[in-house]
């Protein structure tokens, strides 16, 4: 046998985190996943904007354009798809047994999760950049203060992070890559379509308005719309009452999901 390195070098958590992050990102650049990451937001933009612009655009409560109204939902749906990729990846890892191998290696228990999350944030960034580019093409602009624009970007990424955490947990728990996408798509569509992202709450039947107004996607949309601003006052002012509900939703999500992650990552039967 070739000589085995006689001394074990010390391991570094930062190096391990980086190696595991690159491990997830690298294949996406050559197996076509990068292409779908770019294509998805373009597809959502075309699919929502073109058919709905004419007849929904009339009910957008005075925003300057339907593009301005629609932008938050495009960004959110694009981000959700990034979270599905995270779920797919963690499910694949646990079904292939590579999780098991990492657990028996000198790697801190949460490092693989941290690396998968970093890769998810990379996906979210692609989704955000491409959806903003699409928004720009159909006429969306940032009208607010620079701080508000930064807030818009951060809020989208934060939502992406919590969704990716959730997706990753679901993937790791059900260990079934094939079932992961069908499991996660319906909630995204239901919450996306039954929200204030496409049309105002007032256009929904009265019995469902309560749900539509208060569910998290609508709350995110209200906050993002306010942060993006508009040439008219219709986007709403940036205020604590608009920003706090999304933050509460996200905090609650993280508080529930993170401990479960720690449990799954450090569990020894």
């Amino acid at each position: 046998m070739t000589d085995i390195a006689a001394v074990r070098p010390a391991t570094s958590t930062v190096q391990q985190w980086w190696v595991l992050t690159v491990r997830v990102i690298k294949p996406t650049l050559r197996n076509g996943e990068f292409g779908t990451q770019v294509a998805a937001p373009i597809m959502f933009t075309v699919n929502f904007y073109l058919p709905l612009k004419q007849f929904m655009g009339a009910f957008t409560q005075g925003t300057s354009s339907y593009a301005q109204y629609l932008m938050p939902l495009i960004a959110l749906v694009a981000i959700s798809f990034a979270a599905i990729s995270a779920a797919l990846r963690s499910a694949t890892d646990s079904v292939q047994g590579i999780d098991r191998r990492f657990k028996a290696s000198p790697i801190a228990p949460l490092t693989p999760l941290a690396a998968r999350m970093s890769a998810s944030m990379y996906r979210c960034c692609i989704a955000l950049v491409v959806s903003l580019a699409c928004g720009y093409v159909i006429g969306f602009r940032f009208y607010g203060h620079v701080a508000h624009t930064v807030g818009f970007l951060l809020l989208v990424l934060l939502i992406g992070a919590v969704l990716a955490l959730l997706g990753d947990l679901i993937g790791a728990a059900n260990k079934n890559p094939e079932a992961t996408t069908p499991l996660l798509l319906p909630p995204i569509f239901v919450l996306g379509l039954l929200s204030a992202g496409l049309e105002p709450v007032e256009r929904f039947p009265s019995w469902i308005r309560g749900f539509v107004r208060n569910q998290p996607v609508s709350q995110y949309v209200y906050a993002l719309r306010a942060l993006a601003g508009d040439s008219t006052p219709a986007a709403g002012a940036v205020s604590w009452s608009v920003i706090s509900p999304p933050l509460i939703w996200l905090t609650a999500g993280a508080v529930i999901v993170l401990p479960l992650h720690v449990l799954v990552s450090t569990r020894r039967r």
Binding site: R8, P9, T11, K103
Partner: protein, 411 residues
């Protein structure tokens, strides 16, 4: 990293009174054993015996309910990080990243173990060379055959030197060449002073590779020793005599006189097709029997000294017909009689394992072992007439079947 002193330098693995239950299922009842430095210990047992649970506990993936286990001087419960730094684990399932190439996997695992990029690269190159994967180095592992996958899996565990290696059924479903290279690797580990714990269902593998064998069933160690000791335990060498004409059997029994103990004489029935008797003096017993039978003018087809094969040992020890483990010894002649039929059926996560031994009226005294697992049928036949050890035959058929199963693993 400071080099840690091993408290007990003779033992790479110490397992003491370990018990593990999953709900109401007792996976390990009370297991104790040791593996010395540079020793290869074979953990032999059927599906569901507790082999993988043992490996999981030693590689810190599972916590024992009770008892104490130490790997390379590190306690699995109080110092799991120390254990993880000292081991290499190859599970039943190949655990590498299918989306990366073989080389990328090796570099990744090298970097995870703390190697610098250049070190990891050159180590990857060496390992690809050694494991005969140079041509496939830059293809994604998802396209590899079963044997190649297993080789890259093991190679990824060798990017740095382990103190203790756990090989959990490493050759299941491999072609003969891959199997051979893994067998050679185990010898290399031994030479390098690396302790190896090998779990296997293949008897000949445990026989060929292990310094010592532990037979485990139902979470209990039911036998321990070298392959020779185990064979000894199941029954000493015996002499088997097959007459040309079965009608001569009573005359043979008569002629053998005091050589044939009462017990074996009583075991003869109308359906017997041979006489088996203890050969306390080995060749002398055989010579004497031959002399006596010649004098009585009885024509023979075969007379031979036989040692029980490891198959006999395994089946005798793990047979489910006898409920309690203490009664699991089976004398060789029992398996020749009409009632000497042993079946071992099990429903585990891999489908049915079915073993039949010594079918009545099977003149060749053939032992069959059929297995339907996820790796398709394995069929092993041992102990042909005139083949005193039955070993060669066993290995050959086992290899053939392995080739078949490997072909099915190909994507």
């Amino acid at each position: 990293m400071p080099k840690r002193r091993m408290p007990n330098s003779d033992n790479a693995v110490v397992v003491d009174g370990v018990r593990k239950t999953f709900g109401s299922v007792v996976a390990l009842a009370d297991i104790s054993f040791k593996v010395g430095r540079g020793e290869v210990l074979g953990l032999l047992g059927p599906n569901g015996a507790g082999k993988t649970t043992t490996v999981d506990i030693l590689s810190t993936l599972t916590r024992p309910d009770r008892g104490h286990a130490e790997v390379a001087g590190h306690d699995v419960a109080s110092d799991p990080a120390g254990v993880r730094r000292s081991i290499m684990l190859t599970g039943q399932q190949v655990a590498v990243d299918d989306m990366l190439t073989g080389r990328e996997n090796l570099v990744m695992f090298g970097r995870l173990q703390g190697l610098k990029k250049s070190q990891a690269r050159s180590r990857a190159k060496d390992l690809l060379d050694h494991f005969d994967l140079v041509d496939a180095a830059d293809r994604s592992v998802g396209t590899y055959s079963g044997g190649m996958r297993r080789r890259i899996d093991i190679a990824c565990g060798l990017v740095v030197r382990p103190e203790v290696v756990f090989l959990d059924e490493p050759t299941t479903g491999l072609d003969p060449r891959s199997r051979q290279s893994i067998w050679e690797l185990v010898s290399d580990f031994k030479e390098a002073g690396i302790a190896t714990l090998l779990t296997t269902q293949y008897l000949e593998e445990a026989d060929a590779l292990s310094d010592r064998i532990i037979v485990i069933d139902h979470g209990t160690i039911i036998a321990e020793g070298t392959a020779d000791e185990l064979k000894e335990r199941t029954g000493a060498t015996y002499c088997e005599i097959v007459p040309r004409d079965m009608k001569d059997l009573p005359a043979m029994a008569e002629a053998l006189g005091s050589l044939l103990p009462e017990q074996n004489r009583a075991a003869l029935t109308a359906g017997s097709d041979r006489i088996a008797m203890p050969a306390a003096d080995g060749p002398n017993t055989l010579a004497e029997a031959l002399y006596l039978l010649n004098a009585a003018s009885i024509e023979l087809v075969d007379i031979a000294l036989r040692r029980p094969s490891l198959d006999d040992v395994f089946l005798a020890l793990t047979s489910r017909e006898n409920g309690d483990t203490s009664a699991m010894r089976v004398e060789p002649e029992e398996s020749e009689g009409p009632s000497g039929r042993h079946r071992l059926e099990r429903n585990g996560d891999t489908p049915v394992t079915r073993v039949e031994v010594g079918e009545p009226g099977d003149a060749s005294g053939r032992h069959r072992l059929e297995r339907n697992g996820d790796t398709s049928a394995t069929r092993v036949e041992v102990g042909e007439p005139g083949d005193a050890s039955g070993r060669h035959r066993l290995e050959r058929t086992a290899d053939t079947s392995a080739t078949r199963s490997d072909a099915e693993v190909l994507p």
